[in-house]
Symmetry: C2
Amino acid sequence: MLAMSTSKRDGYHHGDLRAALLRAAADMLREGGPAAITLREAARRAGVSPTAPYRHFAEKEALLAALATDGFRDLGKALAAATSEKSAGLNRAGEAYVRFALANPARFRLMFGHGVSSMPEHPELMAAALQTFEALTGMVARNGGDKLAAIKAWSQVHGLADLLIERMIPGEEPEALIAALFP
Amino acid sequence: MLAMSTSKRDGYHHGDLRAALLRAAADMLREGGPAAITLREAARRAGVSPTAPYRHFAEKEALLAALATDGFRDLGKALAAATSEKSAGLNRAGEAYVRFALANPARFRLMFGHGVSSMPEHPELMAAALQTFEALTGMVARNGGDKLAAIKAWSQVHGLADLLIERMIPGEEPEALIAALFP
DNA sequence: TGTACATCAGTGAACGCGCGTTCACTGATGTAC
DNA sequence: TGTACATCAGTGAACGCGCGTTCACTGATGTAC
């Protein structure tokens, strides 16, 4: 399967086009942000005709939604990994959240509003986002906080991530801020 | 004609085309978000040829930047108004920030990353954004906080605003959240 | 076992689309003498 | 005071652009008998 990943066509059929398109789109996202993603270019990179993607995604937004969905799952994994140790407190989750955004700014933007016009039209995306939030709520609960505390923590951490990747905080090193805010 | 109500053409010259274009663009922003703003449509709405805007804006991004700049100034005013009373604490500023975002979601998005590709290329925009942040830092300082506290407060409030307008917080009324978080 | 046939996953041509921007231009205005 | 002239703010035609998407199609594959 992975051998297929470098657009190895065994003839007419691709073998794993859906995954190849997602990979291509993820590259384009990294290279030029959400607006740089193009169905035609993704097809080109996968070595396939411009209309082949329509066998796997009903429309361009469906591709973007799938990409964002993956993003939420990855973020969820990152949060889980950061809090897997017994001794890990909420600060580890916060740090992981901000680091995820700094490491994948374009993907983070795609997940939060840039690109997918309306989340409710993509149930999988909704579900993945909700699950991330619920994981976070769980972590806060384990530290004795209620839902309001979870929203507060999420806002805190999300705001910092967003302001940092948009370069809105003047004269501060991200690393120094993370160290100071999540000791 | 509708265009005539906002643009008084006394003949060849418009009189106040720059302002008219900004108004048209602000309307389009409200109607369809940052991506819906088009130079040609703005010209159309101002009752002017497609190329006339180039007398006032070097390129499309300059228009967007001007719009975002106005946004930061308006946000600054809103924050100042909310804290004008002696007794007003930091919570009033936070509340005003979130309310601004809820009342002008598209403009808020434009200000924070959606639309203008790189802020440093627009000094006026940079300056306006910086000034807003400094106003906020000043408010925090008056309440005994340092710069780190200001960044923390800004993150908190910005994150809540962003999550709310992107409809990421499930099952919560914005009003109830504001009341709970900014008592 | 071979084969007919349904279904799936591609192809390739074509369409409409409005956009941003350049260019050479012209009409209107303000000012120096 | 009138006038020449520079400058400013519009016009209108044109260009290139690649995009998303539809359509009728064909090649490949899996399966029932």
